[in-house]
Symmetry: C2
Subunit: 140 residues, 2 copies
């Protein structure tokens, strides 16, 4: 299945994430080469089979998620939309959200509609701001 | 300035990074809205001015870099190339590289050639693999 807009694809993606719904997650991702998914701090998953196996492992290992998503930046190219979002996750019975996650999400259009082709998520270290990169600890 | 291929733009990007050359770095990035740059664990920088200020701060704070880049995945769309790379950085007089950094780099084509529009870099936690996401520590 594909979605009528990139926004609809993104909504389906995060709804599937929240509901731990592997069937919807399978439909959100484009079934083609050149897709990849980076979960925070882990090595990349390339291709539909590996990406969905990763989501299955996450869904099996954790309780229900609640996710608030804020779009920070968006770039539209012909047939492609790139969004930088901030994800705020609350997991299971935790009472408040975890530190924010940044994600680059890319959706591409085909005749049938829009699907997800890239998700690169990474944590933001508390106290880090854009004006003070700290090369001694991380550097780039 | 723009570059004849995405590979040439990427080479110029990492050469400027290694040489701490702000003039070349300024030319590598497309001077247009909708660009953004995420350095590992930091909040995003949006737009040419903020992105270059970030690189200036990094270049002023650290010694010379040596960077080895491995392309892990590539996706080509009309006028756009998306690459997932692994960066191995050695800084100043350090004797060996730091833990690897994953980066999503996106280059776009205009009449004049190719320039960088997105760089999202994040660390890989040692011991994390794609088959074992650890939701209790990071989730997603």
């Amino acid at each position: 299945m594909a979605y009528p807009t990139p926004e609809a694809a993104e909504s389906a993606f995060y709804a599937a994430f929240e509901a731990r719904d592997l069937a919807v997650m399978t439909e959100v991702w484009a079934p083609e080469p050149g897709t990849f998914c980076v979960h925070p701090l882990t090595t990349p998953l390339a291709g539909h089979t590996a990406i969905l196996a990763g989501w299955r492992a996450i869904f099996e290992a954790a309780g229900r998620f609640r996710i608030a998503v804020t779009v920070l930046s968006e770039r539209r190219e012909p047939g492609l939309v790139i969004r930088l979002v901030e994800e705020s996750l609350t997991i299971g019975s935790e009472t408040g959200p975890r530190p924010p996650i940044l994600a680059t999400n890319i959706y591409r259009q085909r005749d049938a509609g829009w699907q997800l082709v890239l998700h690169h998520a990474s944590p933001v270290q508390s106290g880090q701001t854009e004006s003070r990169p700290t090369p001694h600890r991380i550097v780039h």
